[in-house]
């Protein structure tokens, strides 16, 4: 993710990328009209923009966006912490992993979004079902990556630390934790996109707040532009979260050669 603006090749590629964006917006605006596609199937970009302004003014768009973003963030952070704790514990105890792995595998295979209606039954039309789905969906990629990282540490490194009289906590703090950071961030990138999905599905199932609610409301009202605006806002939340993770990752994993980081 290191972008070097002084490199002419990079600048050309960025210009190309920008040109593609302009072309896309232009196609969106005029192509449906030219191809006689009615606006309730694909509303042109200008209509989506005016719908965006209307929703800002009279549908509390920012309020709903903030609610969704909050649920994504809370679910993401809690799912991450839970995934890390369980990943480290299982990584340190092969017995625990052996005993628990069939259950963890079953839960991993089960589609997490299918739990949304269940959580709504349990917790009603509150923020909790949405956050819970996000936690569940974020948990797995984080846990699996941390577990894998702890497992793949060269046992000789641990022996070396022990020969320096390191205790269990020092081995965790000085070896296992830092060694897990690369795979952890790879897991977090995946989790960031999944967290948004989890929250939206929760909102689609029930409640009267959040972008998922606006999405179903727009669908019911036959307001295609409203659905488009909701999807775009959700995408923006996802991009912001993903971008934040990439920025933190670059700070934390600065010691890694750039190509290894991108490959992670």
């Amino acid at each position: 993710m290191d972008i070097d603006l002084s490199d002419p090749l990079t600048r050309r590629m960025m210009a190309l990328s920008g040109l593609l964006f302009v072309l896309f917006i232009a196609a969106w605006e005029w192509l449906p009209g030219l191809m006689k596609i009615p606006p309730f199937i694909i509303p042109p970009v200008s209509k989506v923009w005016s719908e965006f302004l209307r929703m800002m003014a009279s549908e509390h768009l920012m309020y709903h966006t903030a609610i969704t973003a909050m649920q994504v963030l809370v679910g993401f952070v809690l799912g991450m912490l839970l995934g890390m704790v369980v990943g480290f514990l299982l990584g340190m105890s092969p017995t625990a992993e052996f005993v628990l792995s069939p259950y963890i595998l079953a839960l991993q295979i089960a589609p997490k979004v299918a739990f949304a209606p269940l959580f709504v039954i349990w917790f009603g039309y509150t923020v909790y079902p949405k956050i819970l789905v996000a936690i569940l969906i974020v948990f797995f990629p984080v846990m699996v990556n941390v577990l894998g990282a702890v497992r793949s540490i060269d046992p000789d490194i641990v022996r070396l630390a022990k020969s320096f009289t390191a205790n269990r906590f020092q081995i965790f703090r000085m070896i296992e934790f830092p060694a897990s950071l690369g795979p952890l961030f790879a897991g977090l990138r995946i989790a960031a996109t999944l967290a948004v999905i989890g929250v939206v599905v929760g909102e689609l199932v029930g409640g009267n707040t959040g972008l998922g609610y606006l999405l179903t409301f727009g669908e019911g009202a036959g307001n295609t532009a409203m659905v488009f605006v909701s999807i775009i806002m959700l995408t923006i939340i996802g991009i912001l979260l993903y971008g934040a993770i990439v920025i933190i990752e670059n700070r934390v994993l600065h010691f890694m050669p750039a190509r290894d980081r991108r490959g992670a």
Binding site: L160, S163, F164, T165, P178, A179, L181, F255, M256
Partner: protein
């Protein structure tokens, strides 16, 4: 009388294999290393050389017999011995200086102390220009020199080295042997050195212990009567080296393996 730094008394090590039968790795080990002495152990593959070092470091307990370091019975890893392996085992997220400080950090030494010791050792290991580099930015030989600095940083009474140079190319290896010989001579450290390389054993040590096939036991002790311990490069070219190699080859049945 010189001080005994490391002593094995009647040490045997047995492992139980997966099938349930016991395998004797080494047996009847009885030897000692005096202060400032460098002793090499040489023997066929799988003769239990590494097992011997693990017992010396306290990572593995002996099945029978006792191991003493500085007169103390070894029961668990202790700060008197430090370990160096074929792999450099530098931590990729630490700079070279931070890697050298690793053992000192485990021992809760203050940061300014750690820094001072690390920088001094890195200077001795000719890595002063690379203190803030990360391991992946260094060559294999440089990384192994950093590993040597990390081993020396905790100021151990005994260095245990398990084929530390066997992953390096022949020329780098000779340079590192020179570094090690000079550093050990300057600091007066005691070392037990496991190797496959006959010339390396002769060039670096006061004595060479020859081990047998598994179950490993010490079958011969050869005192290397060549001067100038701080200069393995010169020792390697000494006229007596050929004789010692011939003796070792015979003991290890190297020529018979070819016939």
């Amino acid at each position: 009388m010189t001080k005994r730094r490391l002593e094995f008394r009647g040490v045997t090590k047995r492992f139980s294999s997966r099938k349930g039968d016991t395998v004797t790795a080494v047996t009847g080990l009885d030897f000692h290393i005096d202060d400032g002495e460098i002793v090499s152990i040489i023997g066929p593959s799988g003769c239990g050389k590494s097992t011997l070092l693990n017992m010396g470091s306290g990572l593995d307990p002996a099945s029978e017999g006792e191991v003493f370091v500085d007169g103390e019975l070894v029961t668990k890893p202790n700060a008197h011995v430090a370990f160096m392996l074929q792999k450099d085992l530098l931590l990729p997220w630490r700079t070279i200086r931070e890697n050298v400080e690793f053992g000192l950090e485990v021992l809760h030494r203050a940061a300014p102390d750690r820094r001072k010791i690390a920088l001094e050792l890195l200077r001795k290991c000719r890595l002063s220009d690379f203190v803030d580099h990360y391991p992946h930015q260094l060559s294999g030989g440089m990384r192994q020199r950093a590993a040597l600095a990390r081993t020396l940083a905790v100021d151990p009474a005994v260095l245990l080295m398990d084929e530390p140079f066997s992953a390096l190319d022949a020329q780098t290896k000779m340079v590192l042997q020179q570094d090690l010989g000079r550093t050990l001579a300057e600091t007066g450290k005691t070392a037990l050195f496991v190797t496959h390389d006959l010339v390396e054993a002769i060039a670096l040590s006061h004595r060479v212990l020859v081990m047998s096939q598994r179950p490993g036991r010490i079958i011969r002790e050869i005192v290397i009567d060549i001067p100038d311990m701080g200069n393995p490069m010169a020792r390697r070219k000494h006229q007596k080296v050929g004789g010692y190699i011939a003796e070792l080859m015979e003991l290890l049945h190297i020529e018979e393996a070819v016939a």
